[in-house]
């Protein structure tokens, strides 16, 4: 069972803090990950491990359209981002690049920093608290993109 720990932040985690613009002269996700979350949590890139989770409040990913933001989180090994709501371009970018995102006020409220989570068979379990949450349903087209691992793979099929 793949487990990951939680990094928890507040409302309006914007793309400028997920990946500051001073690093956007480089589009390599591998280079960007060293600076993920740097302006809100300078220790993030050192502490994050593959399979970990990011939890936010309202309006996660607001601001710039930079896809570097979900790419930096994905390259950092983030398994999923859980938030009360997502800004729309970040939502698109996460889906399109295959970063798993979960919109749930209940989970975002109840799950705490350093909790250990796992996802299996459509259920997210907070092992620290011993509580399980069914994953919310998603639109068919969004599910298809995520199943293909990203938008480019999905549209190639459409011909």
């Amino acid at each position: 069972m793949e487990k990951g720990k939680v990094f928890k932040y507040g409302d309006n985690v914007n793309t400028d803090v997920i990946i500051p613009a001073r690093y956007l002269n480089d589009a390599s996700a591998q280079n960007l990950k060293a600076h993920a979350m740097e302006d809100i949590d300078p220790e993030f890139s050192k502490r994050v491990r593959p399979g970990d989770f990011v939890v936010g409040g309202f309006n996660f990913g607001s601001g710039s359209s930079r896809e570097h933001a979900p790419l930096a989180l994905k390259a950092s090994g983030v398994r999923a981002v859980i938030a009360k709501s997502f800004a729309r371009i970040f939502f698109r970018n996460a889906v399109n690049t295959g970063l798993y995102i979960i919109e749930s006020a209940e989970m975002a409220d109840e799950i705490d920093e350093n909790d250990v989570l796992t996802i299996e068979n459509g259920v997210l379990t907070d092992l620290t608290k011993g509580k399980s949450y069914p994953l919310p349903p998603m639109d068919d087209y969004v599910a298809k993109i995520l199943a293909k691992g990203g938008l480019m793979e999905a549209v190639k099929d459409e011909g």
Binding site: D16, V17, A21, A87, R88, I89, R92, D139
Partner: protein
Amino acid sequence: MALTATQKIFAKHAGRESVTPGELVTAQVDVILGNDITSPVAIAEMKKAGGKVACPEKVALVLDHFVPAKDIKSAEQCKTVRDFAAEQGIEHFYDVGKAGIEHALLPELGLVRPGALIIGADSHTCTYGALGCVSTGVGSTDMAAAMLTGKLWFRVPQAIKVTLSGKLRRYVTGKDVILTLIGMLGVDGATYRSLEFFGNVSALSVDDRLTIANMAVECGAKNAFFPVDEEAAAYLASRGVHPCAEELVLPDADAEYIEEIALDLSSVPPTVAFPHLPSNVRTFGKDIPNDIAIDQVVIGSCTNGRLSDMRAAASVMKGRKVAKGVRCIVIPATMEVYKQCLEEGLTATFVDSGAVVSTPTCGPCLGGYMGILAHGERAVATTNRNFVGRMGDVTSEVYLASPYVAAESAIRGVLACPEE
């Protein structure tokens, strides 16, 4: 069912009679925009997919964020875009000397048509809704998929209707209007919705409408929409755009809006967004202290770098000097605006007052270069975001304001508004 203007434009581009708010549709797009930051990621996706651009005539590539290239890595990104444009036969490619900030440039070039569906890999792509189209910011992979197929997936938005009345007071601009609305709605109050303006739209200049639409994303909106009036039609005609009747979209009379806001323009005060959210608004004469000392002023950006913004700033600065200890950076948004500033003597006014005038770039707005803030420094800027670390060090502060307020603040050395 009765449709809003935005829903009508989505229906037409999806080849449908009607659409339902909330549903996902695949729609043909008319313009696909990218810049020097977002295009390289899209180009890498295109290359991975081994694809060719299906519709090079629809693609516009504008180098504007870090140009003239600020360092070697930026130069490489510009080169990637330049080479791609040449390889793929993309004619709408705008490089240093021909370019400008993308959202000021595209309307100038006549690339924005009423009734169009425009996407751009830049969040401020919503600017063009000022001219009666649907335009919205997307990501780089969206841009790549659209270049490959000519179409893209969208969620059909519900709409917030803003009905305008009255006229703006002196020293009050479109910037104050949109900051006021963001203050009312909050930074996510319009998420997944379109922000549609009706009523006394003609009381606003086209430039004011562009500024308002530009910042619609700061309250989360997918797009903004203004119907085309006589002034907008005249502006479009001056740019070689002559829309036919069916491109001039209006909502059905019984279209449904999820929220309706009545805004008397004469009630809008000079407004400033304090750190660190665009919704954190305060107004002169009410809750702005008169002793907020500043280190820097930036006048420019896709929000406020057009000719009317330059004229507004120059009218305040003419014959006066930038305060000791303040750095004032003026950035006309396009080469056309830059040239016009020279011809009208605005550049001389800025330089005589002690400001510097840069060639077009997004530069300092996003903390790229050309005016980065040090530890604890404070800037008044006509830009669009004041997030933590947006213009430099994480302890620095950005106050968002109109060109009038920014210029007066540069002269007085404190956050200030011109007085009648």
